[in-house]
Amino acid sequence: MATSTTDLKSKIIESLNLQDITPEQIDDEAPLFGAGLGLDSIDALELVVMLEKNYGIVIKDIEEGRPAFRSVRTLADFIDARQVSS
């Protein structure tokens, strides 16, 4: 079953302690870093931990995850691809 972007957004909000942001306010296609949600490099590491904790996906090289972290949509696609291949 494909990863729910709404569920993924809730996990992002929880793991990053984003105040006053709801899943509905996050665009599936909007950039997670820089513009968009405005996340930073520490948040990227926090997302790596979130992926292992919630989806059992281990990213050993942050460069491997860089394309996946472009948006919620690319991250959901990445999770689906890794779960199919494992």
């Binding site: 105040q19 405005g38 992926l51 292992e52 059992g56």
Partner: protein
Amino acid sequence: MKLTITATGTATEADVSSARLGQRFGRMDLTSQLALLAVEPLSSHFESLARDRIAIVLAAQSSSLPTDTEYWKGRDNPGGPSPTLFTYTLPSAAIGEIAIRHRITGPNLCFVGSSQDVLPEAADSIRRGEADACVCVYANVISPALAAFIRRPLTARACALFMQPGENGLHLWQENDRDMEALCATLRPIISTK
């Protein structure tokens, strides 16, 4: 040189949940949150000053031990402990958050010490010409996990004072005004009646 206290602020854990100080606030450790909240009432006094001439002196009574304890507890979690938490495993982390929020780039100093350590050093930094004013902060957080470890009562509080040259502030600072918490408690009723 005469020095005066021109503003003061305090914060406890009860103030944190309702506070909204930007998107980063929720990610900070409790010491940084309390320190930021205590400093907030001082900020209107920063406007007329060059930000590189404002110093910050912090005393973190429990160092970063509450955050260190939380970080250590996370070591067995899937994916390991929180990277965000790691950035707060320094006693001086709150200084960075104050500097970022208020764009303060002057000298700074962190004590792992008591509320008696801050004001004399703040006064010296102004008298030595290193700064034109000083944000003085005292924070003490003893979380439940830390309280069990060091056998001290729970606490979570911070207070802040803004020290500037002059004599027309809320309180003319004297050398024997060493205890910052006591001074904050004394000045709070004065402010509330103004």
